[in-house]
């Protein structure tokens, strides 16, 4: 069962995309129905695949390294779960939210196309296949960012489009150089060859191109210029997907896979990612304080938290990588929750400016409570999950004797508490403006994902031990063990 579930994760959303486009010309309401069905199916399959053994799937029956392979190891299982869980909940949320936009059929088709791309990135075993699926997901996200065609959204979408295309071109350049040096694009085969040849300038250039491309896709400083414009301008479900999973599946996962499985954890790559993470955490935190637009504040906060994940991965020790992967899972959950909350608030009050809001706790109880839970999680209060993941990252940094990084991480976590307290004070507590005295709670199809994500925030903190054994420990083992990866694909001893 698991061997046929792997291509289905990519093929099912592709089939449902085209079915939505065909039937959507005649019947408008097919979009939500098929969308929820497809994301429910992929979520169920991703849960099944967690218990399956590590396997390799050969497309079309051709053996590697001649054919294209799909690889399922611990890291892929974790990323599949994160992507499909958030896609399922966001799809349920967008049934009611997208009623304000026209052309809803195209929204659901583009959303499922983005899901195809992300599933393909996580499962692919070839460098060029990684590039193609990155492009599919990125093209769908460029179109989704400018979905409501107002002037600000178009400007943000255009900036994102140009910078994202530049990054993809750099990734293709890196793949071309790797192909010239090793004669293959299969990741395991290239890893074998790279271990054998001497380091030369072309390899360093390829590493530079990869870091530029993937760091831009994940929003690390100094390549973050598109993120504070693109994430607020998108519709709220798209913002949750972009900030929750896209910057991680296309950026952090891809650079982890290339750095550890292809280049065997080169010190140079990890050092650069560590420094980028440090600068991102600091700059993202500092720039969030002065923001008035709630979604722009959440976007800068995303830059800061991805800096934490990059620091954890850049440190290279098993404790650091496990903590970074746990923070990846947590950040997807609580940042998705916060963006969905901001969408609900915007839908009822009609504004994103925090200075005009206040006292929403009285009129919108579910949204306010889930905002409080999300803010407490991201600030790092026990017993929510953010506390454990941030603590583990700081402990890993101390154990690796990186005292500057640990100090900055602690300082930024204080700043995070500061601006999230400001968010809660301004929008939830305090007097309610007269113009909002009649607003109601959001419909039930939007409150179900909010409640579910809040429960996951709490449960991931309390049941951390169980999650660690099931998800994060195998993922860390899969990241660090390049020999097992090569032998799994090529069938010979690494």
């Amino acid at each position: 069962m698991s061997t046929v579930a792997m291509p289905l994760m990519v093929a099912l959303p592709m089939l449902f995309t085209v079915l939505i486009l065909i039937i959507g010309k005649f019947w408008r309401y097919i979009g939500p129905i098929l969308g929820v069905a497809c994301t429910a199916a992929t979520f169920y399959l991703s849960l099944l695949l967690i218990t399956a053994p590590d396997s390799v799937y050969q497309m079309g029956g051709w053996i590697p390294p001649i054919g294209i392979v799909m690889i399922l190891d611990g890291l892929s299982k974790l990323m599949l779960l994160v992507v499909n869980l958030l896609a399922f909940l966001v799809m349920i949320y967008s049934i009611s939210y997208m009623n304000r936009y026209t052309a809803q059929t195209k929204f659901y088709a583009l959303f499922l196309l983005m899901l195809t791309g992300m599933n393909g990135v996580v499962l692919s075993g070839d460098l060029f296949n990684l590039f193609v699926f990155t492009e599919i997901a990125s093209l769908a996200s460029y179109a989704l960012v400018g979905f409501g065609v107002e002037s600000e959204e178009l400007e943000a979408g255009f900036k994102y489009l140009i910078l994202g295309s530049l990054a993809s071109t750099a990734i293709l350049f890196g793949v071309a150089i790797i192909y010239n040096l090793t004669g293959t694009v299969n990741m395991a085969d290239a890893a074998n060859m790279i271990n054998a040849i001497k380091p030369n300038t072309a390899l360093v250039f390829a590493i530079g191109m990869f870091i530029f491309g993937f760091a831009l896709k994940s929003g690390l400083v100094p390549f973050h210029a598109w993120l504070p414009d693109a994430h607020p301008s998108a519709p709220a479900p798209v913002s949750a997907m972009l900030s929750g999973v896209l910057i991680k599946a296309l950026g952090v996962y891809a650079i982890t896979r290339v750095a550890f499985s292809v280049f065997n954890g080169e010190k140079v790559i990890l050092d650069i990612i560590l420094w980028f993470g440090l600068i991102s955490a600091f700059v993202g935190g500092m720039l969030s304080i002065g923001q008035d637009d709630i979604k722009r504040l959440l976007a800068f906060s995303s830059i800061s938290q991805v800096g934490y994940i990059a620091m954890g991965i850049g440190i290279g020790t098993p404790a650091g990588i496990a903590a970074a992967l746990f923070h990846l899972f947590n950040h997807a959950v609580f940042k998705g929750l916060l963006f969905l909350d901001s969408g609900a608030i915007e839908m009822r009050t009609g504004t994103r400016d925090m200075r005009q809001m206040g006292g929403l706790m009285k009129r919108m109880p579910v949204t306010s409570l889930s905002t409080v839970i999300g803010s407490l999680s991201i600030s790092g209060f026990p017993p929510f999950n953010g506390f454990f993941s941030k603590l583990l990252i700081i402990i890993a940094l101390f154990q690796a004797k990186a005292y500057l990084f640990a100090g900055v991480a602690i300082f930024v976590s204080f700043i995070t508490i500061a601006y999230y307290v400001k968010v809660q004070k301004q929008i939830l507590f305090g007097p309610l403006p007269k113009v909002y005295s009649n607003i109601k709670e959001v419909p039930i199809s939007m409150t179900i994902p909010l409640i579910t994500l809040s429960v996951i925030c709490l449960a991931a903190g309390i049941f951390y031990g169980f999650l660690n054994n099931a998800l994060f420990y195998p993922a860390t083992q899969a990241v660090l063990n390049q020999a097992k990866y090569i032998s799994m694909v090529l069938g010979i001893g690494g």
Partner: protein, 116 residues
Amino acid sequence: MTVFMLDMIIFGLGIYCLIAKRHLIKKIIGMVIIEYSVNLFLILLGYRMQGIAPILSPGQDIVEFAKKGVDPLPQALVLTSIVIGLGTLALMSAYTIKLYEKYKTFDMSEIRKLRG
């Protein structure tokens, strides 16, 4: 060797055009030049001196063909990359038309409502 240098000069021209020009359509042209220069780089990697095209005609010896043909794998990769470039170009053109409709200008320095 000189061919690769010329290709990198084209890449540099594309980057100059993307950064230095303010008109939106000139930026799109710069982006397209960058993408095509990377495609050209990928094809040039597969070249073999005095090679023949990798198309087998009936009655040709397979071993002789494998010794003299150029590498067909980069050509397949470039085909995919050209299609991706086409999709990106279509999306950029649609964005440009809608931007003109909303801002009434093609000048990038005047399209700056988002800041901070």
